[in-house]
């Protein structure tokens, strides 16, 4: 059985400067050579700092923007496979019902001029599913699924709080019975107490609707709570991916290590080892040579600025670091000695 979503060598480059003839000569490499898979019924968390390309990856895998290169293979039933990267908007439209999105800001993702009924029914209307009466029934059903009162149908979004709005957004995303939902920082605009409710709702719905989530977040604790697997991005590249537990407890990439160390934990007994990274995230239009992380890496050695690390599989995880490549190990040892 094929994975639900298989992204191969995804590149999203935005042209930055053009030459005299309008041909782009330099690029902002927002996403560069990213591969991942999302299996049926799985939650994949993507974490990273601001500007690491998480959201761009999410948008590109939904084809909300056109990737520069790479394949985005969607197989809704596990058999037929569609390469979303090469399709035009008209070919994509029938496939849109398999993939939906929950946005970060629940205040701008609901059209203020529509009632709750119109908002949730919209995916059904544009895909011409059901009669108006059936749609109303479906909307009511969805409202109770996400824990909202069915009498809210005629209200406008301004009548709701952030958490309630996010519930409406989720109900709307569920309307088409999608296979997977991309959550772009879906809870980061909410209060912590509300975050937990929405996360639990999402986990609950995942079981009931057999959903898969591509969960983008910068809050590591949220991802740890919800994700089965996690992928860490840095400067447009995937540096490490693997089981959530394994990545969190036994990070292999130096960047993942420092990321985890920097995240606050609600545990007063834990001793914090502060060792903040030097420098800043590199300019995506002018990335360092070799491994993009080498200027800030505490474990950097001679080959790091020359050789681009490749994906190395180790203990079921994927890591892109020379330390874990055969060449790297020896060299690292040599440079330490």
């Amino acid at each position: 059985m094929k994975p639900l979503l298989h992204v191969q060598n995804l590149k999203v480059w935005f042209p930055k400067e053009h030459n005299f003839f309008g041909k782009p000569i330099s690029f902002v490499k927002a996403v560069d050579d990213v591969c991942f898979t999302l299996k049926q019924g799985e939650t994949l968390g993507i974490v990273g700092e601001s500007g690491s390309g998480k959201s761009t990856t999410a948008y590109a895998s939904l084809r909300a923007l056109t990737p520069t290169a790479g394949k985005i293979l969607l197989s809704p039933d596990g058999k037929a496979e569609y390469d979303l990267a090469k399709m035009n908007p008209n070919e994509l439209r029938p496939l849109r019902r398999h993939m939906q999105m929950v946005f970060q800001d629940p205040f701008s993702s609901l059209n203020p001029r529509m009632t709750v009924q119109q908002l949730i029914a919209e995916p059904l209307v544009v895909n011409k599913i059901g009669t108006p009466k059936e749609r109303t029934e479906k909307v009511k059903e969805l409202l109770s699924e996400v824990g909202l009162n069915q009498n809210f149908l005629t209200r406008y979004p301004h009548a709701f709080s952030g958490g309630q709005r996010q519930r409406i957004v989720i109900a709307r995303a569920l309307a088409l019975n999608p296979k997977f939902i991309v959550c772009d920082e879906a809870v980061s605009a909410l209060d912590v107490s509300v975050q937990a409710q929405i996360l639990n709702l999402m986990m609950d719905l995942k079981e009931r609707f057999n959903l898969s989530y591509l969960f983008i977040a910068h809050d590591l604790e949220v991802v740890r709570h919800i994700a089965d697997r996690v992928a860490v991005m840095y400067a447009g590249r995937l540096v490490e991916a693997g089981d959530t537990k394994q990545v969190f407890e036994n990070p292999m990439h130096p960047y993942t290590e420092s990321l985890l160390r920097a995240s606050p934990r609600a545990d007063p007994n834990r001793k914090r080892q502060r060792s903040p990274l030097r420098g800043e995230v590199p300019d995506p239009s002018n990335l360092p040579s070799g491994c993009v992380f080498h200027p800030r890496c505490p474990k950097c050695f001679a080959a790091c600025d020359k050789q681009i690390p490749v994906e190395t599989h180790k203990d079921g995880c994927i890591v892109r670091c020379l330390l874990h490549e055969k060449v790297g190990k020896n060299q690292a040892r040599a440079s330490v000695n």
Partner: protein, 382 residues
């Protein structure tokens, strides 16, 4: 962002009170009207504008005379004042006028109108007069008010012009032309502005570039010379109706540029809103996104900026006609009426400037209303 008092988050299924449901279920138009009503000046000016339109559109019924009817005996009469009191032959007090006594100065031969304070001419309501058609179909002869013309009585409430035409009737008929010209001109502006601005903002690229350059060129051309040129291009042989539509088109062709920019800017910002993206991810077509999601969300701003554009149109028509470039008699518009008010005539007949007062009243109240609408246009502001 005003946050209505929300039901507790931990009990999302809790029902809220009935009174709150009113706000929650209010659509944007209702919220907008609510804010508009709070702006007192704008609210009342809105009423004045509405009243002006009603009066001028029913000028057939309200005006006591035909605007082109010539009273040879009553040339350049000053306004006749309305009084309230007892009139001979009636038990109840009512409105009446004093008639004029025409005398010719023995030396200069100038006409002098003396008010005859002894006689009281009652103002009659719903009198029979010249025939007009209700809604252009049903013929009727009733008018709101008038006097017994057969007995030689007159009611020139705002005086008469150099040809003995009733000023009050002419201001009403002129208002109909001027106010409608503003409205039709703005409607054409609206169509052009929305379409070109929408295309420019939504699709961008080379289309945007082209349209914006055209807008810049049109905006950089000085207005009066271009009006002159276009008005000069109207053939003299055209009927007054043709001239009227040509004028409307000319004014609209220059007026759309501002709106085009507003629409483009709004498109550019709304296109990036998450709900537009959400709709496209749900599989909505481009036209649905534009007409269901984007246009309604900036429509209120457009309405506000249009209501500010109407007085501009009216002023443009007035000044053009005043300069003799726009509408020409026998069409009556405020500009045409003001054309009669030359330096010489104003000295002796200051009432010829009264159409200017009508223009000022209209433009001021429209501006106030437009300001209020603009402030109310975004019900979610502050």
């Amino acid at each position: 962002m005003t946050e209505p008092s929300i039901p507790a988050e931990d009990s999302p299924i809790e029902e809220t009170g009935k009174t709150e449901a009113g706000v929650y279920e209010a659509n944007q138009f209702k919220l907008m009207m609510r804010r508009f009503k709070k702006h007192r000046a704008a609210y009342w000016c809105g009423h004045i504008v509405l009243l002006l339109y009603i009066i001028c559109l029913s000028c057939n019924f309200i005006a006591p005379y035909d605007p082109s009817e010539i009273h040879e005996d009553w040339v350049s009469t000053p306004p006749q004042a309305l009084h309230f009191g007892k009139v001979e032959g009636y038990t109840l007090p009512r409105l009446y006028l004093h008639p004029y006594d025409l005398q010719v100065h023995p030396v200069t031969l100038r006409r002098v109108y003396k008010v005859d304070h002894e006689t009281r001419v009652p103002l009659r309501f719903f009198v029979k007069g010249r025939e007009w058609k209700w809604l252009g179909i049903i013929p009727t002869t009733r008018h709101l008010f008038g006097v017994d013309e057969e007995a030689g009585e007159t009611c020139f409430l705002l005086g008469t012009g150099g040809l003995g035409q009733d000023g009050f009737s002419r201001i009403l008929y002129g208002g109909r032309i001027s106010l409608l010209l503003g409205l039709t001109g703005v409607s054409i502006t609206f169509l052009l502005g929305i379409m070109l601005g929408g295309v420019s903002g939504y699709y961008g690229g080379i289309l945007d570039l082209g349209i914006q350059r055209i807008v810049e060129v049109l905006q950089s051309v000085p207005k009066i010379p271009i009006w002159l040129a276009m008005a000069a291009a109207i053939p003299k042989s055209w009927t007054s109706l043709q001239v009227y539509f040509a004028m409307t088109l000319i004014l609209a062709c220059i007026g759309w540029t501002g709106l085009c920019r507003v629409v483009r800017g709004k498109m550019l910002s709304l296109r990036e809103e998450d709900y537009a993206r959400a709709a496209s991810l749900a599989g909505a077509t481009e036209s649905r996104i534009i007409f269901v999601h984007l246009v309604p969300n900036f429509m209120s701003h457009i309405v506000a900026s249009l209501s500010l554009a109407v007085p501009g149109m009216i002023l443009a028509e007035t000044s053009l006609s005043f300069l003799g470039l726009g509408l020409r008699p026998p069409i009556v518009s405020w500009g045409v009426l003001l054309q009669e008010a030359t330096v010489d005539s104003i000295v002796n007949q200051p009432w010829l400037l009264l159409p200017a007062l009508a223009v000022i009243l209209t433009v001021l109240s429209m501006n106030f209303m437009g300001d209020g609408l603009r402030d109310a246009a975004d019900p979610y502001a502050d």
